[in-house]
Amino acid sequence: MEQFIQQVATGLATGSIYALLALAVVLIYRSTEVVNFAQGEMAMLTTFIAWTFLTSMNYWLAFFLAVLVALFIGALLERVLLRPVEEGPVLNPIIVTLGLFTALNSVVLWRYGGDPKPFPKVPFFEGGPFSVGAVAISRANIGVFCAAVVIMVALYLFFTYTKVGLAMRATALNRGASRLVGIRVGQMLTLGWALSAAVGAVAGMLAAPIVALSTNMMFGLILFAFAAAVLGGLTSPLGAILGGLTLGVVQNLAATYNPTESSVDLAIAFLIIVVVLVIRPTGLLGKRAVRRV
């Protein structure tokens, strides 16, 4: 029983990373209907940049600067690469993000090499495990979960109570009407990408201590993030969060109680994606999109 709770706790921690990444994907999808396949690689890039910062400053400063850089990179990518293809066939922005995937991966590999690098955990949460009765939950896991919660709450407050947040929600719902109301849609899209990149950066920095910082660290993670986003519904931020947490827990439990010898987690993620997409494409919480003829 204790082991069960422990696994659930660990699962929630990894799940919060999936949730953050999924949230980033949903953020962009809601506002632009583009699935950003390069989300993971963007996160990976900013995490490497954070690693560079860490060599000359303390953790929190590096963290903060990395997020700033992420905002800038996200905005830049949207403005330069995505803007030209936002109208036109839906396939084109997808292909651009795929090109970005390859390019970013290669650039990071070129600059930093293929060896995994160590990445520190969130400082607050160092030290021995927290004990609740017979259950020992690692402080690091709590740290990850808390950090993710903080981000989600911040985003929720931003979108619900600020003018810009409201404008972004409006842009995601109806671009034409947003223009008529005086919203600069282009700026909102850029902001969407910037925020998404920032969220991804946080996810990357939380994940790096766990999975080791390397150029392929995000391949598995992004698959789970997509699975979470699809499960929750590509248009639902809440769905992404719940999906991520659920998947984290399920993955952990499956790994612990897995009867077979070899790992099956990626295969399970794949299965979830396919099953959800076939049975209920809008996911658990997404809205049904009407196909315009």
């Binding site: 090109g99 390019a103 070899s262």
Partner: protein, 382 residues
Amino acid sequence: MVQSLLRPRVLGLALLGLVILGFPYFNTMFEFMSGWPFFGWWVDPFRIFQAGRFGVWIIILLGLNLLTGYSGQISLGHGAFVAVGAYVAAILMTQYDVHVILAVVAAGLFTGAVGFLVGAPALRLTGPYLAIATLAVVIALPQILKHDLVSDWTLASQGINFYEQGTPPRTPEMLEDMVNKDQWLYYCTIVPALIMTVLAWNITRSRLGRAFIAIRDTEIGAQQMGIDVALYKMTAFGVSSFYAGIGGALFVFSEAVLGPATFDIVISLTMLAVLVLGGMASVLGSIFAAAIMTMRIEIVDTLVKLIPFGEELRIDALRGAIYGGLLIVAIIMGPRGLAGGIRELAKVKPSAIIERVRSLRVAEVLRIGTQRLLQPFRRRDR
């Protein structure tokens, strides 16, 4: 009779045929040219091996083009089908001693069947959703290949190799004097490539091809026209994976080893990239794409030499960035790729070009040129 045989088209095809058939012997026939600046390249024996690979890529990319270019089903998982074909062929040949030709055909049919069935769940998925699902396939496949249930055949991480048997195919005894191993390998891949190219060409011009295009352009419209979208979508997947399977099986010839990571996400994305560059929805485009794919390392190496400080900057390690970058630029500028550009060029009459050029001054040309180049990037907020 002789008149019609001498028409340029026929002569051209005949010349092409001769070049294709005779290619492996160029290095011996034209050995004297090996020092020459341009021709030396063609005469290098390594080209024979490369040409064989070229043939394999043609088949693989034709398959991808039929699915993504013609039918509009974006599939990031093509690499997974190639891997399946490769594994099936390798397993049949190493563990069950199946004859080469049989193994290849079996690989193709098996993969085609798998693809056809995969098409069923894919029916309900469009655009980004399909992309996600196929991405999931290709990321999850290495793990599946290593799993216990199949590791008896796939030998898990270790992969399959042909060290014991020697890489097939072996030159039949009869011809051993005339055709050496490399040359035989070439023929074994080029001939299927030719057959599959002609087959693809026919498909694109047939009812099936038109149905594919209809589905790509307007799925609901296609349904209204009476096309059984479900069946044709599954067929698109089936045909495409058949090609992938054959390609994968032939690929196995030239590689001595095959592992779960041989066809991973990176190569799947590279395939898509070169296809967009070469030209989607065009057989010629697939051929260009295959050429780029075969030569990609050399192209990057040439770039390294051309760019100042290329070697110090280690541009060769940036090859992924180059493919990705080219892909992005290509899709922004216009997605018809090289083949499209050539078609455009072919439409224009030389006299018209000369006239136009003569009437413009340099400054104007520069201005119009840069304007068109930057057009996609201009601020478009409407």
